[in-house]
C-alpha cells in the first residue's frame, strides 16, 4: 500500500518501479485464502478510470485498474472515426487562474501536475483523437497509476461476506481465468456496444464503427444515414462534398447543442448538412421511427426504403414488395440509395455483469446506461459505482457528466464519498467567519470549474454554524444527495445552509427554442431570476431538505423549494465580480437570510460609536490613503 503510494509520488522514474512492484502487489496477502484482494478495482483505463485511479493514488488507497488493451484510452484509438474530437481545447482565456481555465478546457483530467494539461498536447481547438491517446498514456505514466493492461475482465460476480465493507465482495474473472477480489468496484467501461435497431433489412446497413472514412468510396453515391447525433453528422460532414446527396433519417428532430445547451447534442462544428439542407442543395433531414421501416435491396443492388408493415402483408418477392410511392407518388424517400449507414450511438456493455449484481439498465431517458443513484452508486448493489460516460444517466441531456469535462468532477465527488464511507475522512471543507461568506461565494462562482461544467449536478454547500457566526464551505457535492448530506460527508448541517448552483434559465434551452430571441439577456439585477444564460443561483434552507422534499420537488426545480433564493444576474463575460451589479445584491440576500449586517467598515466608523454592539463582523480596516497616489 504505502509502497504503491510512494511509487506514485516519485513521478516518471517511478514508472519502472511500479511495473516492478506489480508482482509484489499481486502477492499481497489476502485476508482469506483465495483470489488476490484489492480495496478498489477500477474497470477500464479510459479517462474516467484514470481519473479515479489518480484520486485513489493520491489518497494512498489500495487499488488497481483493469484494462483489456495494452495502453490506456483504447476507445480513442478508433473513435471518433474521423479523428476530430469535438471537445474544445481552449488554450487562451486571457486569465491566469488555472481553475477558471479548466472551465474552457474540455479534455484535461484533474491532477496536481500542470504539465498534464491537454493544451500541452495539442494546439488544435478541436484536437485529434491521437493526441488524446498520447495524453492518457502520459497521464497514466507520469502519475504512476496502477493499471493492469491486457487484462480483460470477462465476468463480474458478487460474493457475500459479512467481513466485507459492503457486505459482499466483487469477484472479477479475467480472460485467463484469474480471479480478483474487490471491496469496491468502480465501473468506467464507457459505452462500448454500438446501438443496433432491429428492422427488416438492417443487415444491409453499415455501422459507424466500420464504415469507410475515405470520401473516395462515396463518390457520386446516394447515401442514407440513420441517426442524427454527432457521429451521424460527423460521417456526413466527411462525405458531403462527394456524394450526390445525403439523407438523414431519425426518430426525432435534430437537437442542436447551442439550442439545448447540452454538449451531447449536435455541435455546430459538424452541422454542414443542416446548411446544405436548408439551402436546397439536395441533402435532407427526415423524421420517422426506425422500427417502422424496412430496407429492401432491388435488382440493381440499390436500397429501397419501405415500411415494415408492407413487408408483413405482401408476398416476399423483392419486386412485389409494396413501396410507399406506389400509393403516394411524391413520397420523400422514393429514390434508391447506394449505401445506408447506421450511426445510432452506443450502449453500455451489461454482458460481463452477473445477475447477482442487479446492474440493470433503464435510466430515466434511455436504456443505454446502467441505473445509478445520484451518488453514482448502483441501485442494485452497494459498493458498485459507475463512472465516466456510463454514469451519464444521472444528467443525460442536462449537464456534462457523460463527457471528460464533466465526469472528471463526478469522479472526484465519488472519491470523496468513498473516503468518508470507508476511511473516516470527512468531505473536505474550509471554515471561515461569516464575514467571509460573500467573498467565499464570489470566489467560487467566478473560478470554480466543476460548478460551471456540472451545472445542476454538482453544487457547493455552505453549512452554517450555530448563530451563523461562522460557516463551513463544501465544494462540488452531488446536489441530488443533499438530503443525505450529513451521512455522505460527515459534516453537520444543523443551523441552515446555502447551496450554490449554476443554472440556465428555465425554458430557455430546448431543441425547438429560439435562443437568439430579442431580450434574451437580462441586465438589471432586479430581473436576475429571469436570466437565461448560465448564472449562479443561491438557495437558502433553514433546515436540510428531506429525501421526500428532494424527490418531490416542483417540476423544473433543480432543488427543493428553499426558504429564499437568489439569482446573480447573468453576465456576458461570466465575470460575476461587479461591485454593484453582482456582489451588492448577493450581500443583501445573505444579510437578509442571516438577519445580520455583512458590510465592512473602516475602523472608527463603528468602533468609536461607543454604542453597545455585538461583535463587528469584519476585521478592522484602516481607511486607506485614497486618492493620494
Amino acid at each position: 500500500m504505502s509502497l504503491l503510494a510512494a511509487a506514485g509520488l516519485w513521478g516518471p522514474p517511478g514508472l519502472l518501479l511500479t511495473f516492478a512492484l506489480h508482482p509484489a502487489l499481486c502477492l499481497r496477502p489476502a485476508p482469506t485464502s483465495g483470489p488476490p484482494h484489492r480495496d478498489y478495482c477500477v474497470l477500464g483505463a479510459g479517462p474516467a478510470g484514470l481519473q479515479m485511479a489518480y484520486f485513489l493514488q493520491r489518497a494512498g488507497r489500495d487499488y488497481a485498474v483493469f484494462e483489456r488493451a495494452p495502453r490506456p484510452g483504447s476507445f480513442f484509438t478508433r473513435y471518433p472515426r474521423h479523428r476530430k474530437l469535438i471537445s474544445i481545447n481552449k488554450r487562451h482565456t486571457g486569465k491566469a487562474n488555472a481553475e477558471f481555465n479548466l472551465r474552457h478546457d474540455w479534455n484535461s483530467l484533474l491532477s496536481h501536475d500542470p504539465r498534464l494539461l491537454f493544451r500541452h498536447y495539442s494546439s488544435a481547438y478541436f484536437p485529434d483523437a491521437g493526441d488524446m491517446v498520447r495524453y492518457l498514456d502520459d497521464f497514466a505514466d507520469r502519475l504512476g497509476l496502477h493499471v493492469l493492461y491486457n487484462t480483460t475482465i470477462a465476468h463480474v460476480t458478487l460474493n457475500k461476506d459479512r467481513q466485507a465493507w459492503n457486505g459482499h465482495y466483487f469477484l472479477l474473472t479475467d480472460q485467463m481465468g484469474h480471479a480478483h477480489r474487490c471491496s469496491v468496484l468502480l465501473v468506467a467501461t464507457g459505452l462500448s456496444v454500438p446501438n443496433q435497431v432491429d428492422f427488416p433489412g438492417s443487415e444491409y446497413t453499415e455501422g459507424y464503427e466500420s464504415v469507410s472514412v475515405d470520401p473516395k468510396d462515396f463518390e457520386g453515391q446516394n447515401v442514407l444515414i440513420l441517426g442524427r447525433g454527432n457521429s451521424a453528422f460527423e460521417t456526413a460532414e466527411n462525405i458531403l462534398g462527394v456524394t450526390n446527396f445525403i439523407h438523414m433519417l431519425s426518430r426525432s428532430r435534430v437537437r442542436l447543442s447551442w439550442a439545448t445547451h447540452y454538449v451531447g447534442d449536435l455541435r455546430a462544428i459538424n452541422n454542414g448538412l443542416l446548411d446544405t439542407y436548408q439551402l436546397k442543395s439536395l441533402d435532407g433531414l427526415l423524421e420517422s421511427d426506425l422500427t417502422d421501416l424496412a430496407i429492401v435491396k432491388d435488382r440493381e443492388g440499390k436500397f429501397r426504403v419501405t415500411l415494415k408493415f408492407f413487408l408483413e402483408e405482401g408476398n416476399q418477392s423483392t419486386d412485389a414488395i409494396t413501396l410507399p410511392q406506389d400509393d403516394n407518388d411524391n413520397f420523400a424517400m422514393r429514390v434508391a440509395y447506394d449505401r445506408v449507414i447506421r450511426c445510432l450511438g452506443w450502449n453500455f456493455d451489461f454482458s460481463i455483469f452477473d445477475k447477482s449484481l442487479r446492474l440493470s439498465s433503464g435510466g430515466e431517458f434511455s436504456k443505454k446506461y446502467p441505473l445509478v443513484k445520484a451518488s453514482y452508486e448502483s441501485k442494485g448493489s452497494r459498493g458498485l459505482f459507475v463512472l465516466g460516460t456510463a454514469s451519464h444517466s444521472v444528467d443525460y441531456r442536462k449537464s456534462a457528466g457523460g463527457f471528460i469535462h464533466g465526469f472528471r468532477y463526478t469522479a472526484r465527488a465519488v472519491h470523496r464519498l468513498l473516503e468518508h464511507r470507508h476511511h473516516g475522512v470527512a468531505w473536505p471543507s474550509t471554515e471561515h467567519p461569516v464575514s467571509q461568506l460573500t467573498s467565499s461565494i464570489v470566489r467560487r462562482i467566478n473560478e470554480a470549474s466543476g460548478l460551471y461544467q456540472m451545472f445542476g449536478v454538482l453544487a457547493d454547500v455552505v453549512l452554517l454554524k450555530e448563530n451563523a457566526t461562522a460557516f463551513e464551505y463544501l465544494e462540488e457535492l452531488p446536489v441530488q444527495m443533499l438530503a443525505q448530506l450529513e451521512t455522505i460527508t460527515g459534516r453537520r448541517a444543523r443551523h441552515g445552509l446555502f447551496v450554490i448552483n449554476m443554472e440556465y434559465g428555465r425554458n430557455f434551452s430546448g431543441p425547438d427554442k429560439d435562443v437568439f430571441f430579442h431580450d434574451r439577456s437580462v441586465g438589471h439585477t432586479e430581473d436576475a431570476w429571469q436570466s437565461n444564460f448560465l448564472h449562479p443561483v443561491i438557495y437558502y434552507y433553514r433546515h436540510l431538505p428531506t429525501e421526500q422534499e428532494v424527490r418531490f420537488r416542483p417540476a423544473d426545480w433543480a432543488l427543493p423549494r428553499p426558504t429564499a433564493i437568489h439569482h446573480i444576474v447573468e453576465d456576458f463575460l461570466t465575470d460575476w465580480t461587479a461591485p454593484v451589479g453582482h456582489i451588492l445584491p448577493l450581500r443583501r440576500f445573505l444579510e437578509n437570510c442571516l438577519d445580520t449586517d455583512l458590510r465592512s467598515f473602516y475602523a472608527g466608523h463603528t468602533d468609536l460609536d461607543l454604542t453597545p454592539t455585538t461583535v463587528p463582523v469584519f476585521p478592522a480596516i484602516s481607511r486607506p490613503p485614497m486618492g493620494k497616489a
Binding site: N97, I583, R588, Y602
Partner: protein, 821 residues
Amino acid sequence: MMSSSFNIYRVGISFVMMCIFYKSAVDSLSELSPQKYFSTLQPGKASLAYFCQADSPRTSIFLEELNEAVKPLQDFGISVAKVNCVKEETSRYCGKEKDLMKVYLFRGNILLREFPTDTLFDVNAIIAHVLFALLFNEVKYITTLEDLQNIENSLKGKANIAFSYVRAIGTPEHRAVMEAAFVYGTTYQFVLTTEIALLESIGTEAIENAHFYFFHCKQVLDLTQQCRRTLMEQPLATLNIHRFIKTMEAPLLTEVAEDPQQVSTVHLQLGLPLVFIVSQQATHEADRRTAEWVAWRLLGKAGVLLLLRDSLEVDIPQHANVVFRRAEEGAPVEFLVLHDTELIISRVEGNTHIEEMQEDEDEDMQSPDMDIQDDEVAETVYRHRKTQLPLELTVELTEETFNATVVASDSIVLFYAGWQAVSMAFLQSYIDLAIKLKGTSTLLLTRVNCADWSDLCTKQNVTEFPVVKMYKEGKHPVSYAGMLGTEDLLKFILLNRISCPVNITSVQEAEEYLSGELYKDLVPYSSVSVLGLFSPNMTIAKEDFTKAGNYLRGFVITGIYSEEDVLILSNKYGATLPALLLARHKEGKVESIPFANSRVQDIVQIVTNALLETFPEITVENLPVYLRLQKPLLILFSDGSINPQYTKAILTLVKEKHLDSLTPCWLNLKNTPAGRGILQTYFNALPPLPLIVVVNLHSGGQVFAFPSEQAITEQNLLLWLKKLEAGLESPITILPAQEWKPPLPAYDFLSMMDAAASQHPTRKEPECTKETNMQKNDKQQHEDKSTIRKEPVETLRIKHWNRSNWFKEGDKSFRHDNKEL
C-alpha cells in the same frame, strides 16, 4: 424626493394638529335652529354660521363648498354650522329675502365679519376669508410700497417678514398664505398685497399668480440698510411655504468637522441637498466668506456647511473643495473640484432637477436604494477605481515566481483578491507602506492576486482575503493579525527586524536594551520592551518564554538574558528568577514581574496586559483593545491635552484600586474629533469640557455623567463613583443596543417566481403575436447585454415556449418536416 415631500407633509400636519383647539367628532355641516346655535357658542372660539330660510333648497353650490370647508376649518378650531331660520323664530341674522342670506363669523358671541355668499365662492375662498378675518392683526394688508417700507423699517433688528403677493383675495394661494400665517403668524410679520404695482416696484421679474418673499430684517441693525430678501421659487402652497420657512429658520452656515456622511441638518429632512465647502485653517476666513455667499445664493435650495479639513478625522480626496450630498438616505457623498462658485449653484439647481426626474422613474421601481452601495469600504474602492496605484513599488508574484522569491529574500506577501473591496482598500495602504519603506528595508514587499493565482494561494493556506504573511529565512511564514492599515503593518514589519526574543549577551547590553538605547529606532513602535531573566539552567522556562516571544513577534520587543551573571540584573531590579522585566519607555520605568511556573499562554497574557496603559488616551485605533477588557469605560473628554491634575487624580484612584472595575481613559477631541459625535449622542448638545462619563457598554448601555459643576478632584470623583456603585445616580441616557441587522431588504426572487408561475397558466398569448413582435424587434437588434428593463415586476414578461411534443410518435405516414419540398 417622494419620501422627502412626505416628510414635509408629516411635519406640516403635526403643526396643524398642535393648533387644534377643539376637535369635533362630526365633519359634516351641522344644521341648527338659531336658538340652538347661539347656545353652542363658546367664549373665544370662532364659529362660522350660514343663516338660511328653512324652506330654502337643501342643496346648492355654496352649501357643497361650505360642507367641504367644515373639516379644514375645524382643524383650525373653527366650527361651522348651517342655521335654519324658522318663520316664528326670527333672528336678526336671518335675512328678509331668500337671496340675501349671509354668512357670519363669530368669536364667542361677538360678530366679527359678515360675508355675502358670493364672496365665499369656493372652499379656498371660505378658508382664506375666514382666516384673513381672524388673523387681522397677524397679517397686514398693504397696497403701496410706502406701507411695505414702513413695516420693514419698524421691524429691522426685531423680526423677519413673510411678504406675499396674491392676485386676489380668496384664491388658493391666498388660502395657503393664510394657513401659513395661522402657524407662523406670531413668529414672523406676515404682509400681504394684491397690488401688482407694488410687486413691480420691489423688482420682481416675471410676475405670476403669486409670490412669497422672506425678508431677513431681524439681523439688520443699521436702519439705512435694506433687509435681504429671499424669493420662494416653488409654487405658493402650504407645504412649500412651510418647507421654505423651515429653511429660513435654519442657520445660514454651519461649521462642521465630521464625516459629511454623518452630518444631519434640517435640510436633509426636508429633502434638500447639503453642500460642504471644504476649508483649511490657513484659508478659513476667506472660505467662510465664500461659503456665506454661496449659502445666501442657495438659501431655500440647499444646506450649506463649512467643512474643516484639518480637524476632520476621515480622509477626503486631496483636491476636493466641495462635497455634495443628496438628501436620499444612503446616497453616496460626492467629492468635487469646482473652481467657480457658480458651478456650485448650478450643480444644486441642476441636481434638484435630476431628482425630480428620478422621482418619476422611482415610482415603478419602488426600491431605488437597493442598488446604492452602503458598504463604505466597497464604496470608496469603487469611487477610486480609476485611480492608478503605483503598484510597481511592490513585486507581483505568480505561481512561477513565488517560491523562488520567498526563498531568495525575506519577503512580506500580501495575498489579495482583485475583486474584493476590503483587499483593494488594504492594497492602497500596502502601497502607502511601500512608499514609506522605500529604500530603507531589506524586506521585499510583494503581492499575489489570488483572483489570478488561486492554486498558489490555496497552497499557501490562504482561503480568505486579504492576508499578509512574512516569509523569513525559510522559516514558517508568520501571519499578520493586526489592523489592516499602514501604521500597524509598518510596526509589525519593523519589529520583525529583530528576532523575538532577542538574545542579550551582557549586562551592559541588557541595560541598553532596557533603557531603549539598543533599539532606539524601534522603541517608538513598542511602548514596552520585555526582558526575560533566567538562570542558565532554567531550560523549560526559557523555552516557554521563547515560544511566547515568537508568538508576540511583531507586536512587542522581547529579549532574553540567561548568562551566569544574571543575578546582577535580578538584584538590581528586585526580581526573583525567572522574572520578566518590563521597560516602559515613555515613563522611563522598569518593573519586574515574577512568573515562575507560568506557561506560554500566561506569559503572553502578562505581556499583553502590560502593553495596556493605566490611563490611556483613547483613539480610534486603540479603542478595540480596551473594549476587549469588557469593563465599563470611565472617559474624560478633553478639548486638547489633559490637565495634569486630572491625570494625577485619576492615577491616584487607580493606585488605590478604586477604579478596578472600570477602564479609565481619556479622549482628546483635538486628536479624535469623532469624540464630538459621541458627546452629542450622550448629551444631545455639546456640553462644556472637560467632562467625565462612565459608559457601561457591555451591559445595559447606561451613560452616567460626573456633575459638571463639581471640580474634578480625587475626592469628588471617589464620592461620585461610590454613589454610582450604590445605584444612587441615574444615567443621563441609555444607549440602545446596536444590532447588526441587514441595512436593506434583498430582492424577493422567490415571490417574483411564484407570481410569474401563478400568472403563467392564465396567460394564453398566441405565439404568433410574440413572433411578429420579435420580427419587429429584429431591426433594432442589440448587442447581447443591452437589454433595458421596460416593465415593472408585476407584469414581468413570461418567456414563451413551445409546449408541443418534440417526439412525434405514432405518426404513421412519412412526414416530411418541410412541407414545400
